[in-house]
Amino acid sequence: MPARAPLVAKRSAVRGSLLGIEGLPANEISQLLEAATKMNPLKPRPVLRGRRVILLFYEPSTRTRTSFEIAAKALGATTSLVLASGSSIEKGESLIDTGYTLRAVGADAIVIRHPHSGAPHLMASHLDIPVINAGDGMHEHPTQALLDAYTILRHKKKILGLEVTIVGDIYHSRVARSAIHLLSKSGAKVTLCGPHELLPELATTLVDGLKISRSCEEAVRGADVVMVLRVQRERFSGLKLSLPDYISRYQMTMARLRLAKPDALLMHPGPIIRGLELTWEVADCPQSVIVEEVHNGVPVRMAVLARALGKIRN
């Protein structure tokens, strides 16, 4: 029986945890991306046989949840899915107590998605098993940034020196924060684009060298990568935004995308809302790697899980 940890616990997360890109050194990012190239879900490698990975999801998810599950199984681990609805969380069990409970039933690692920023950090600081952040509030979504980098590297030789433009709802986006940290650590030149409501000037303080543009045309011109983000109306919290205005100024259209380099990649973390942040044609155009991003989520998450459970040296 594992002893119950004291309520005010150790401060740092267990080695192998992945809470965000901000705290992940560049060399560890490279190691994870390198490891991901050796992962093939079609050729299972049972390095995690007998290990138990719990997927703890407090928010809806399609891509992240299934790809973590498939990734864990491809490595021979067993998985259990715990959703906020239908579990004791509905009865009021706290985050930390939920963590203790999952640890007590034998979890070797916990993958957590949560609507509140910092929830994985709170859990990690009270548990002696690795915690992997699968998206926390508006904060970070580190595995999304890793799979995006992996996708870029399948098409471009290196990230260093690339011009990457991120268009859309950056303020509410955990994908944007993780992507900005990763791209910046890897030497890309990042431009952010969106209206004030979704992209405050404060965004430039996140890392050095960030640029902001309020003109989609200007931001996209000459870009190597154009990443489009969904307008997260579920996180607006009273914010008013005219969607017709947004669409006319920031929707990714073929005309705007043509301003980027001819071989530019069009990315989107999903879910996409056709007709809002991008047009139908853009979503399916030859430059679009939206579906490939989802596909690459599996090997990248295999690498993250293998690292969490000590099967990748770092």
Partner: protein
């Protein structure tokens, strides 16, 4: 709460007496008798005998410190703090008088509950001055009966924790304030624009993915209130836990225009900024939030130049299950009664070189004047025998676990401090000995 009904005397000798109201700073002996200050005189000049002698050599002897802003959580929230535990923490922190806020369960909006708080059965070991709610149930709509609350012993009204947002209601409150000479304390926050915010708006909130409360949400209400206060001759407006540079501009303007506008600043706001928020540690979450380093600098200037009238702890105890949870869900507030004095000395005196006399003023005559606490905040003969004795040079480490408060939600656990309270005397009785 009542002390000194029987004859008792204490001679405090050899200390450096700092009494800003009496313009006194020097080696003096102090004789307390029958609950009053009987005599303050140069060393060895007091001839009268005393039953108890306190050797204060190397120490500062000051009028009892007054905290204008504490949450004692009773009635109704005794699991966070009780009047007994909260005042024990106050005594250990050097405070001889505390003003308790009305956001209890039920809200302190009736003379009956004000009386209840002041009853001896509550077990207070320092003087407790209740602040009553300004509106019924602090809902911001209908004013409470200020006159009846004043008669019951309330020293001011406030809807602390919530602002009085409606301009009509605030105007009415200030008009009544002017009529009966009764202060209105405002928690200045435009809550229409701070929904779901859990820290200051700035680089840290953006980085952590937390919604940020803008400094303007505070300043806009301070600005409006100062303008309203100027409309009623004699209206008394006190700005609680002022935290931004912009709010100070409005307060300075009000003071220049001779409005009776006062303000307080908390130790956490002059010690920390939003850059210090430890990742998702709710012991750094309070309202108003820790602001930018520039705001903190502006507070330092205002503390030194006289714009700020008082240091108040905004002691806000919460149980662990309300704090050791997701940052955005955690309760606002930090405990602070036992760290206020050492932080004032460490940060304001040692680091910012503000003279000790000014710091003592901010904790004695300053707050006494804000709420008109007669016979307190000074050691003039005939004043209440409330005395705080502290060692301004003592270095020590604060340990939250040893706090007298029922709750330990502090960002200062394990912090090195300079300055320690040695003895606290209320009504001529020693209530704390460090």
């Amino acid at each position: 709460m009542k002390h000194g009904s029987q004859s008792h005397s204490i001679l405090i000798h050899g200390g450096r007496v700092i009494d800003p109201l009496a313009r006194m700073d020097g080696l003096m002996d102090v004789l307390l008798r029958d609950g009053q200050v009987a005599e303050v005189a140069p060393p060895n000049k007091i001839r009268a005998g005393a039953e108890e002698k306190i050797d204060a050599r190397g120490l500062i002897v000051a009028p009892g410190f007054i905290d204008l802003h504490v949450h004692l959580r009773e009635p109704g929230q005794g699991y966070k703090e009780t009047i007994a535990s909260g005042t024990a923490a106050a005594a250990a922190g050097g405070f001889t008088s505390v003003c308790c806020m009305p956001n209890t369960t039920p809200v302190l909006d009736s003379p009956e509950w004000v009386t209840w708080v002041r009853q001896p059965q509550r077990g207070a070991v320092v003087n407790v001055f209740p602040v009553a709610a300004a509106t019924q149930a602090s809902k911001g709509a209908v004013l409470t009966d200020f006159r009846a609350l004043q008669r019951a012993g309330a020293v001011a009204v406030s809807d602390d924790g919530k602002p009085i947002l409606s301009e009509t209601t605030m105007r009415e409150a200030l008009r009544t304030s002017a009529e009966i000479n009764f202060p209105v304390i405002q928690h200045a926050e435009d809550t229409r624009v701070t929904q779901n915010c859990s820290m200051n708006e700035g680089p840290s909130s953006f980085r952590l993915g937390l919604r940020g409360s803008s400094p303007a949400a505070e300043a806009s209400i301070v600005d409006r209130d100062v303008q309203l206060a100027q409309q009623f001759n004699g209206a008394r407006l006190h700005v609680a836990h002022l935290s931004t540079a912009e709010s100070l501009i409005a307060v300075r303007r009000g003071k220049r225009n001779r409005a009776r506008v006062t303000c307080e600043v908390t130790p956490h706001h002059f010690t920390l900024s939003d850059r210090d928020v430890r990742e998702y540690d709710a012991n750094f979450k309070m309202n108003p939030p820790l602001r930018s380093p520039e705001d903190r600098e502006a507070l330092m200037v205002a503390l030194a130049d006289g714009t700020v009238d008082a240091i108040a702890s905004d002691h806000a105890p919460h149980a662990q299950h309300e704090k050791i949870i997701e940052f955005e869900r955690a309760a606002f507030g930090v405990s602070g009664l036992e760290t206020a004095v050492p932080l004032a000395i460490s940060i304001l005196h040692m680091e910012s070189k503000i003279p000790l006399t000014r710091i003592v003023e901010l904790m004695t005559s300053g707050p006494a004047r804000v709420l008109d606490l007669r016979g307190r905040g000074t050691l003039l003969r005939g004043s209440h025998a409330d005395v705080t004795i502290f060692d301004p040079k003592k270095r020590w480490t604060f340990e939250a676990a040893k706090s007298r408060s029922k709750s330990h939600n502090t960002p200062f656990d394990g912090r090195q401090m300079t300055g320690k309270v040695v003895t606290t005397i209320v009504g001529g009785r020693v209530v704390f000995r460090g």
